[in-house]
């Protein structure tokens, strides 16, 4: 999956076409995105300032912007938790994925393609099944807890599931391929000769990595961290399956407001706040990392 396009060095190939043709190509897809992405977001914005008119499921527009503040104060714990868990999960995934991508790109020889398939392969087992599998592997009846208890690494009271630990590792596990593939793609594009040149210019292995490999792979790292962080911050499946009532994330609150409490304005306000927070973070992060060639 190529998340980063090549830097467009071949601009001369672009046709400077004054005709309507490119717009015809764009029209159906962009219309779809307008109707089913932009318009829903506008509806969400509109819903977020409504108030309940007394009856369940009936709301009227009162432009109550305080909905944003109220909902945020109510869910501030889950908000903080979402961003904390997503950050931790992203860091864990990065720590696992970078060496993995590096090994596939530079150390795997003819096995490269097979290993790449293996990175994507777990995707084909439903991610829900895999998350539930973790719950059972780490659960009370599972082998891991039994072994750790026998070895006295954890006390008999400690459980591995229904914990913040399980939620964070679950998130890191779920989005690991999303982290690995972009990093691999940017590493694979590095000309091995630049690494040799660095060695030739008296850089040792670690310096070569720090001064040449890492900067050249930054676009992949940026794309990978975004593709992990964004879905992780909005996720509620892992918190539901692997967590406990004290590990609820913002996604859980939004889902509950929608389906259990039928409080659409609060759910909409929270969704909107989450989206805005993520977009601000992402913009800041891309600027900081200096990779404008994303997307």
């Amino acid at each position: 999956m190529a998340v980063i396009s090549r830097p467009s060095g071949k601009v001369f190939a672009l046709k400077d076409n004054k005709s309507l043709f490119p717009y015809l190509l764009l029209a159906p897809g962009l219309l779809w995105l307008f109707m089913f992405f932009i318009l829903p977001i506008a509806n969400l914005a509109q819903m977020s300032t409504k108030t309940n008119s007394g009856e369940t499921g009936q709301f009227e527009q009162t432009y109550r912007f305080a909905n944003f503040i109220d909902s945020f104060m109510d869910a501030s714990g889950q908000f903080a938790r979402s961003f904390l868990y997503a950050t931790l999960a992203t860091l864990i995934a990065l720590a696992i994925a970078y060496p993995l991508a590096y090994a596939i790109a530079f150390k795997s020889g003819k096995w490269k393609n097979v290993l790449l398939v293996l990175v994507i392969a777990p995707f084909f087992v439903s991610f829900l099944l895999r998350t539930i599998a973790w719950k059972q592997i780490l659960g009370e009846e599972g082998p891991v807890t039994a072994i750790l208890r026998t070895l006295h690494i954890i006390s008999p009271q400690t459980t591995l599931t229904s914990s913040a630990f399980a939620v964070v590792t679950g998130l890191a596990y779920n989005f690991l391929p999303f982290m690995t593939l972009p990093i691999y793609a940017s590493l694979e594009r590095i000309d091995p000769r630049t690494l040799e040149a660095s060695g030739d210019l008296y850089a040792n292995g670690f310096t070569t990595f720090r001064k040449v490999t890492l900067p050249l792979s930054m676009p992949g790292v940026v794309a990978g961290t975004l593709l992990t962080f964004i879905p992780a911050a909005g996720d509620y499946i892992n918190a539901n399956i692997l967590g406990n009532p004290n590990t609820k994330m913002l996604g859980n609150v939004i889902e509950a407001r929608f389906f259990k409490i039928v409080d659409y304005p609060t759910a909409a306000a929270l969704s909107f706040t989450l989206m805005a927070a993520i977009l601000i973070l992402v913009t800041f992060y891309i600027r900081k990392a200096g990779t404008e060639e994303l997307v």
């Binding site: 999956m1 190529a2 396009s5 090549r6 467009s8 071949k10 001369f12 672009l14 400077d16 490119p22 717009y23 190509l25 764009l26 159906p28 897809g29 962009l30 779809w32 995105l33 089913f36 932009i38 318009l39 829903p40 509806n43 969400l44 509109q46 696992i96 060496p99 993995l100 150390k107 290993l115 293996l118 990175v119 392969a121 777990p122 084909f124 087992v125 439903s126 991610f127 829900l128 099944l129 895999r130 539930i132 599998a133 059972q136 592997i137 596990y173 690991l176 975004l226 964004i230 879905p231 996720d235 509620y236 499946i237 399956i241 939004i254 909409a268 969704s271 989450l274 993520i278 997307v295």
Partner: protein, 266 residues
């Protein structure tokens, strides 16, 4: 001892990668093993080996109708999003036009928006317009979130094309349409296929957006999620494992055939 540490430090990164793969595959292996569990309604504890679930994957109530819906949504939205996304990718990859950067932003935004926000906003709109959520609304939603991934994948392929190939075709008496049909499109096709595969796997495995937009229509992920509360039947493991085996076989077979063709003569 010294040699051992030397070997160890030299292969450290390979060992690390090996451990990462084990980590990736533990739940897959677990799912596969428990597909043979001679279990009742729940599939929590090993009760003995049986092929029974494999010979009767639809044995659990509703599971196969849910799977059928997943395939229906998956295929339809893959087809639509691949067509729409490929058109956009060609416009972005081949033409200069006003509104280019706005288009790029509009493609990027859905990828930078958490699924729960996408799902919540769509559901809000459907409620506002009094539109009943169904199979159709689910497909609409899936097409929407797949388009961006298709655009990005196909655009990368177009960007890597040598523009001289198209110029050569024009030089050899192919008009614009023939150039596209005979040269550009065949060369971009592998990128389109990769994009379609990506779109299908994203759609097939999606739970959050589906949960918001499919109404009462059941899909395989929804089935698993609901069943998780009371215990998942082993048939779900059978279907997950079968999907895994089919997909990996297809991908590896494709690669082997591709390699064979490449090395046939040289």
């Amino acid at each position: 001892m010294k040699r051992l540490t030397r070997w160890f430090s030299k292969n450290l990164i390979r060992i690390y990668a090996g451990l990462a793969f084990i980590y990736l595959f533990i739940p897959v292996l677990y799912t596969f093993i428990y597909s043979f569990n001679d279990s009742g309604k729940t599939n929590l504890i090993w009760k003995g080996f049986t092929f029974e679930k494999w010979s009767n994957p639809c044995g659990a109530p509703d599971i196969c109708s849910a799977l059928g819906n997943s395939f229906l949504i998956g295929f339809t939205s893959t087809f639509v999003s691949t067509v729409l996304g490929t058109l956009i990718a060609f416009a972005l990859g081949r033409y200069k036009f006003r509104g280019r950067s706005t288009t790029n932003l509009l493609i990027f935004l859905p990828m930078a928006t958490p699924e729960i926000v996408l799902g919540a906003s769509l559901l809000t709109m459907f409620i506002n317009f009094g539109f009943n959520t169904s199979l159709l609304t689910a497909i609409i939603a899936h097409v929407m979130f797949c388009i961006s991934f298709v655009v990005v994948t196909v655009k990368a392929r177009i960007a890597s094309l040598d523009p001289r190939l198209e110029q050569a075709a024009m030089d050899l008496y192919a008009n614009e349409w023939q150039t596209f049909r005979r040269v550009t499109f065949p060369l971009v096709l592998p990128g389109v296929a990769a994009a379609a595969l990506l779109a299908f796997s994203l759609s097939f495995d999606d739970f959050i957006i589906t949960n918001f937009t499919a109404g009462t229509v059941n899909t395989f992920p929804k089935f698993v999620y609901v069943a998780a509360g009371r215990g998942i039947p082993a048939q779900a493991n059978v279907i997950g494992s079968a999907m895994f085996i089919i997909a990996v076989t297809v991908v590896i077979l494709g690669q082997v055939l591709g390699n064979k063709r490449k090395s046939k003569v040289s």
